[in-house]
């Protein structure tokens, strides 16, 4: 597959040159020419006003036959016997994909003494639970989980596998994809099905969140994607639902595991439940200091919310990275998001644009955050926030009637 420019059609308008995110098009004697930087992203194709650019869609033959793979799988990630919310979020999304394909939805549960958790997976939409249980699998280790997962996938051949983009999912997924010789798309924000081709459309931020890209895995199977926590919605559980349990043995003697977990340490204060928060009060560089976050904390408490931070504020050391909202932090969708002293770089917006209502406070009227906000106040946060806290207090007192 290549991107081709029809020299006779090209009018040398330069539109494609500025559309290309990778500096892959040069103007040579008034005609656009593609150079080695091309990643075949197709940004130029959409931009060309004279349809001089097209893609040669010839796909090389492959030994894989996609049609023999059926079903949607979700990795049900549990840690120390506790299911992660991402598993239910993936089941919610997986259900939609499975229904449009007309196939069952399955969850893959790996661990020790975890059989009981299958009923939760049925309740959240799984038709089948593939269970690999062994005391060797009590703690996540890359090689043991990869072996268990790959064994299942090779035997039952799902067409789609979704995993959470957690610190464990992002460790496991590439290892599994590497072994299955298939494609993997990280951190998808939108998934859909091209029904005609029976292909998963995987949309994710690219180029540091400055672009969105839709990725396909046309001939290799399964099609694998990770999704960050908080991006997809879980459905409400139905404990009347039940499903089919498929138990697979784990043959520890056949698996080479060269790592060992010596200890797991929880760090208090590191867990900030931003993903589930109803209200997020988020601060950026405009807060100016770690002490400045006290005001945000006060406002968050008043509203029953939690405090988040932009990358700038985390990099400055004012709050720990567990608070970070954005492309490299967490994705949030509260009913109210208050951005304080945040300019609104696209990487930040990527993590909060799903909020129901966005309020922005920034002293720079040209700050991009005002473009995504429902309400904006132009002013210094140090002056505006105390007024806002006071006004909310007044309202609470009055609201008692």
């Amino acid at each position: 597959m290549t991107v081709i420019i029809d020299k006779d059609k090209c009018v040398g308008c330069n539109l494609c040159v500025s559309a290309c995110p990778f500096a892959a098009i040069d103007m040579v004697n008034g005609v656009a020419v593609i150079n080695d930087q091309c990643t075949l992203c197709g940004a130029c194709i959409e931009m060309c006003s004279v349809t001089a650019i097209y893609r040669d869609d010839e796909v090389e033959g492959d030994e894989c036959s996609p049609q023999s793979y059926k079903g949607v799988w979700v990795f049900a990630e549990q840690r120390q016997g506790k299911m992660l919310s991402i598993a239910y979020e993936l089941l919610g999304e997986g259900k939609k994909l499975a229904s449009s394909l007309g196939v069952p939805l399955s969850a893959v549960l790996i661990g020790a003494n975890v059989t009981e958790m299958a009923k939760d997976l049925y309740a959240y939409g799984a038709d089948t639970v593939y269970l690999v249980e062994d005391k060797e699998l009590e703690l996540y280790r890359t090689e043991s989980y990869t072996a268990a997962f790959v064994g299942l996938a090779k035997k039952y051949m799902p067409e789609i596998i979704l995993m959470g983009a957690t610190n464990i999912g992002r460790d496991l997924a590439p290892r599994v994809a590497g072994r299955l010789v298939t494609g993997l798309t990280a951190d998808c924000t939108e998934l859909g099905i091209d029904l005609e081709e029976r292909i998963l459309l995987q949309t994710r931020p690219a180029f540091g969140g400055n672009l969105m890209a839709t990725i396909l895995c046309p001939v290799h199977r399964p099609q694998m994607a990770t999704v960050r926590p908080g991006v997809m919605k879980k459905t409400s559980p139905d404990y009347g639902r039940t499903g089919n349990l498929v138990r697979e043995a784990y043959h520890s003697r056949d698996v080479k595991v060269r790592t060992r977990v010596r200890e797991i340490v929880k760090e208090m204060g590191k867990v900030v439940n931003l993903e589930d928060a109803k209200v997020v009060v988020c601060g950026g560089r405009g807060i100016g200091s770690a002490a400045g976050f006290a005001l945000l904390e006060k406002l968050a408490q008043k509203l029953g919310g939690v405090v988040g931070a932009s990358r700038g504020a985390v990099d400055a050391g004012w709050l720990s990275s567990g608070h970070q909202v954005g492309q490299t932090g967490k994705t949030v969708h509260p009913k109210l998001y208050i951005a304080c002293g945040i300019s609104g770089a696209i990487q930040h917006v990527a993590g909060m644009q799903g909020s129901k209502m966005i309020v922005a406070i920034n002293k720079n009227p040209a700050a991009p955050i005002f473009k995504v906000a429902d309400y904006g106040i132009v002013g210094d946060v140090h002056q505006v926030l105390p007024l806002l806290i006071a006004a909310l207090e007044e309202n609470t007192t009055r609201g008692a009637d």
């Binding site: 590497g178 494609g183 931020p205 990725i215 790592t259 200890e263 966005i358 309020v359 904006g376 909310l392």
Partner: protein, 262 residues
């Protein structure tokens, strides 16, 4: 001890600007840098190698321009640098990239550790490290925030989790992916810069040099393909509340209450 570090030259995506009229990316003058977490990877390798008299080799797959990034790593103290560059590698996704790097590392020979940055800022996938370890059939540990100990047979590290960390022990050889918390990368020294740019050589290897299977590299060897890219849509501009700060705040609280948000 022989250590390999994989780096990527990336556009500095934090400095991307958009043309306000057309809404397209302005790429002119966008500087390229060594991917930040790859610098942490290199720093850790250099710090480990120094007292042991170890050898640090940096490998990058990329276009000819990536030579500059590799020279920067030589200036920081890397002993040798290899640029894996071939038109045939173009369009590679993470699977095909990690395959090509694996072939280069196999050609380079024996090693005890491979360091990679956790993820690159232009793709944010965090997949090349683990996929590379899979191709080489060695263990890997991702999200490394501290090296606890290292001897001839084992490395013990702290691996970051969302709510803390785990202490993981791995046999060698192993691949580790590094977080920025791991260290503060050094600056190149003045004499380092001079030797790196005037005297030292960056070896250039092609697909043929490393004996890569043409069916497994570049676009042809990539299971995934980019169907299209587009600029993310942004919500329309909201309402700017005017007046004094106090009036603006009053309006805001009224709106929030009217919409039952608070």
């Amino acid at each position: 001890m022989k250590i390999v570090v994989c780096i990527k030259q990336v556009p500095n995506t934090t400095e991307v600007k958009f043309d306000p009229k057309t809404g397209t990316l302005i790429r002119e003058g966008l500087p390229t840098i060594i991917n930040p977490e790859d610098k942490n990877a290199l720093e850790e390798a250099l710090a480990i190698a120094a007292p042991l008299g170890g050898q640090v080799t940096v490998i990058s797959m990329g276009p000819a321009q990536a030579d500059y990034a590799l020279r920067e790593t030589l200036a920081m103290g890397a002993h040798e640098a290899v640029l894996l560059s071939d038109r045939a590698f173009a369009g590679a996704d993470t699977w095909a990239t990690s395959y090509a790097l694996a072939k280069a590392i196999e050609k380079h020979g024996e090693f005890s550790l491979i360091f990679c940055g956790r993820q690159a800022i232009d793709g944010d996938t965090a997949q090349v490290g683990p996929e590379l370890a899979e191709h080489l059939d060695i263990p890997h540990v991702t999200y490394v925030r501290r090296i606890v100990s290292l001897d001839e047979k084992y490395v013990v590290v702290e691996r970051a989790l969302e709510d803390g960390y785990e202490v993981v022990e791995s046999t060698l050889p192993a691949l580790l992916t590094t977080l920025k918390e791991l260290n503060v990368p050094r600056y190149p020294s003045a004499s380092g810069i001079v030797t790196a740019f005037d005297e030292k050589k960056v070896a250039v290897w092609t697909a043929e040099t490393v004996g890569a299977d043409p069916a497994k590299i570049g676009l042809k060897g990539s299971p995934t393909q980019v169907k299209r890219t587009f600029t993310p849509s942004v919500k329309g501009t909201g309402k700017i509340l005017t007046g004094t700060h106090k009036e603006a705040v009053q309006q805001l609280v009224q709106e929030l209450r009217a919409k039952h948000v608070v």
